[in-house]
Symmetry: C3
């Protein structure tokens, strides 16, 4: 992944929508993290932990928020340096098509499947009866598309993705390797002879601009859909149970589990390893701290954490108090003894 | 998945083993969740949270426990509405064979493998030396069957399932996509040059009627088997370590991890994200709450939760007491001060 | 997996580097766990929980630490019985090559890929443009190797492993089924139109002698590498985020999640289901108890547990004190009342 681009800082600033602070004529030929950047490269600070590296970085330019001291390094000043950085990466690493249009001869495509000519189907893909695949969508390798699944345009499905029957996926959706969309939900009724399977006859709907990490499981609805809303991003090894509905632009970090029929609003953030029980609702903008266990419906905008999850401030107070609990026990016993004497 | 069936409620009641309450002649053409059901459809209540929807549902009939007020909607009365609902779904959505009998020409089958003629082997399956596959078992796509693995009849293995060497699987077993049965257990001995691998030479045995979700890992025994008993159901993203033994009709919810050589009894329920350490036993009927961490052997019938898991009632008391801990600290300090004055 | 070897105990002792205690002429034909061993087999004790079985075992010989009473059973005395046991298993179950050298005709290999003639490429493997595969490396089945990936010698990649573009892997690396190396890291910048993807243009580097379990996700760096050091062992269903660096000979147990840019030292042990936040460091030899949540940099050698993780002794005191918290509340209220009377 070599960088052939050489661009003046002033041009980068214009591209990113920021203003130059310092020498705008410096030539930039690449992008790197601040602690590893070499001369000629541009870097950025999005997390205050990394500010200390401004003193020692070899970067020839930085992308910085207005208030941060650049220590004389030429920089692009911008309100949201992380977003500017994202744009610069796109510039230095332009998109390449991974699979050319057309269908690899090793793939197995049902005769009734409808695949746009501009789509690219790599080796060992299996596209089932009645499935549809949109324009410029790329199935890289060993991708399974089930019966009557409808896949939009400009999607990328990485090697080993499995899309089960009846799934509906919008445009610009990225799904990483070994992820499974549409496995059966986990539903059984007790009977005298054991656990009777509730046949899972629903499906999964994924809206535009969703990205889903690797080794994720999204179960089909028992009846009706499991839904993931527009622009929502899901990290690796996440469990989405049957009939869950997730709103738009939410962030679901790695190893989260969401139980059946729960509704997650828009702009929600679930940090890593969070568990959410079934049949509850998390309102828009709810933020849940890592490893929390959410057992109850949470109103919009609340920040919670802990297992069980509590209001964030209450949980922090309990956490601090716990550090003093062993001493409290000792002191209480002393006081009680003195009182009783 | 259209429903062509049209059946009178009285006939549905007989099929499900319940009795009609109200107009048994109403014609039912489908099945749906209560809050989404349309006229002509039947729905059910299995969870009290959904009782409120009886007032507003458009369903033409309901499946209800005897004590629930039907608000005049014709219904099937039955003790176990969830089980009846499971039977009705089977009626409206009859099983279809996914892969026809025979072997897809793209698949690679070792000449010594024994595959029943009624089995169906879809594209890109790889069946290794000495493997056996029983009657009417379906390998949908990209399924790997290792050396000398023995698979029973009427199983369904979804796309991307990997069954490693020597695995023994009974009849009517369902395994969902990207699940791995028989990966090596995690065993190393410290040596002067680093961690020496303990070669994992055991295998996995899975009894009849087991269902395993997607992206599950079941490790082979170090020596001897890892075992999953008849009728046990395992959700997605679960970790079963080497030499674990799980009894019959147990329920292992998503993202649970069970460490090596632990024995889980019959009818055990492990809720989501539970962790169980190695070399312990959980007796029959033990129930473990979500996100709990089980460190000790638990006698049959006990309900536990928390990390570390405690007796359920004790854990609930601690949880409630924690809410008052910060105030307790303040009040204690006040009291101590007053006492010392 | 039958054992044809028949070896005198005295010879086994020499092979394992221990000394015979008792009759060295006893003939051993196999190896088994102590509670299941039959006559003619050798077993071992590495965990004190299993000492009780010495009284009842049918094993003809044991591998024991010097201080353990053998109850008259002939044994190999050795300081590290577990390591000796590992060597004996290797003796009774010698390595077999799984895939013969050469490339299965069903596989798709880009013409620019360089594959050593002694490597074995099983069915349905896809080796992309510019990839290199070293001597005697085995890709068992349905393995994907991305563009410009460099794989060393003597590696085993189990069915369904996906190695994405640009990954660098050393020698003697074992990766289990459905594991994904090099999926995109989880990085987005907020923008006015939603979450803008930070293009992940880094890669993954895995050093010699690493073993990675099944269904693991290792993300590529955002910029630069994600690194796993020599001899480190990773269990199933683990999440390694972008730009994580793990040192040498560390042990990462199942379902652990490590967030972005965190550095894990040498000889670190993270027990099952641990979560580690991003941008921190865990020093050499740190040990973290199961289900812990690590939020801060931890100095070398520390043992911590809990969520949030605390010093191990402090965490144990809090855990013990919690058992008495409900009673403390009651007693405090009593005392306060008496004081106020």
């Amino acid at each position: 992944m070599s960088l052939n681009n050489k661009i003046a800082l002033v041009d980068l600033a214009e591209y990113a929508g920021g203003t130059v602070d310092g020498d705008g004529s410096v030539i930039i030929n690449g992008i790197a993290p601040i602690e590893k950047a070499a001369s000629g490269q541009i870097s950025f600070i999005a997390n205050d932990r990394y500010k200390k590296f401004i003193e020692t970085t070899k970067a020839s330019a930085l992308v910085l928020a207005p208030h941060i001291d650049s220590k004389g390094i030429p920089c692009i000043r911008i309100k949201n340096p992380y977003l500017a950085f994202a744009k610069l990466i796109d510039l230095f690493y332009p998109d390449e098509r991974i699979v050319d249009d057309g269908i690899d001869t090793s793939s197995v495509i049902h005769k009734s499947a409808q695949i746009e000519p501009s789509a690219g189907i790599g080796p060992f893909c299996h596209v089932s009866k009645g499935a549809q695949i949109g324009k410029e969508t790329q199935l890289i390798s060993s991708v399974f598309i089930g019966r009557d699944a409808v896949i939009g345009g400009n999607c990328i499905f990485y090697p080993g993705v499995k899309i089960l029957d009846g799934t509906k996926i919008g445009n610009n959706v990225i799904i990483h390797s070994s992820t499974v969309i549409g496995s059966d939900g986990f539903g059984y009724a007790k009977s005298e002879t054991g656990l009777k399977k509730i046949k899972q006859v629903g499906w999964v709907e994924i809206d535009d601009d969703v990205e889903i990490g690797s080794n994720v499981s999204v179960d089909r609805g028992a009846l009706g859909p499991t839904r993931i809303g527009k622009g929502t991003k899901i990290d690796n090894l996440v469990q989405i149970a049957h009939n869950v509905e997730i709103g738009q632009h939410s962030i679901i970090v790695a190893q989260v589990g969401i139980s059946g029929s729960t509704k997650i609003g828009n702009g929600v953030i679930l940090a890593g390893q969070v568990g959410v029980v079934g049949h509850i609702e998390l309102g828009d903008g709810v933020m849940v701290g890592a490893q929390s266990g959410v057992k109850n419906t949470i109103p919009a905008g609340k920040q919670i954490f802990g297992s069980p999850a509590r209001d964030k401030i209450a949980a922090m107070r309990i956490e601090a108090a716990l550090n003093r609990l062993p001493e409290l026990l000792r002191e209480f016993n002393k006081l009680k003894k003195r009182f009783e004497e």
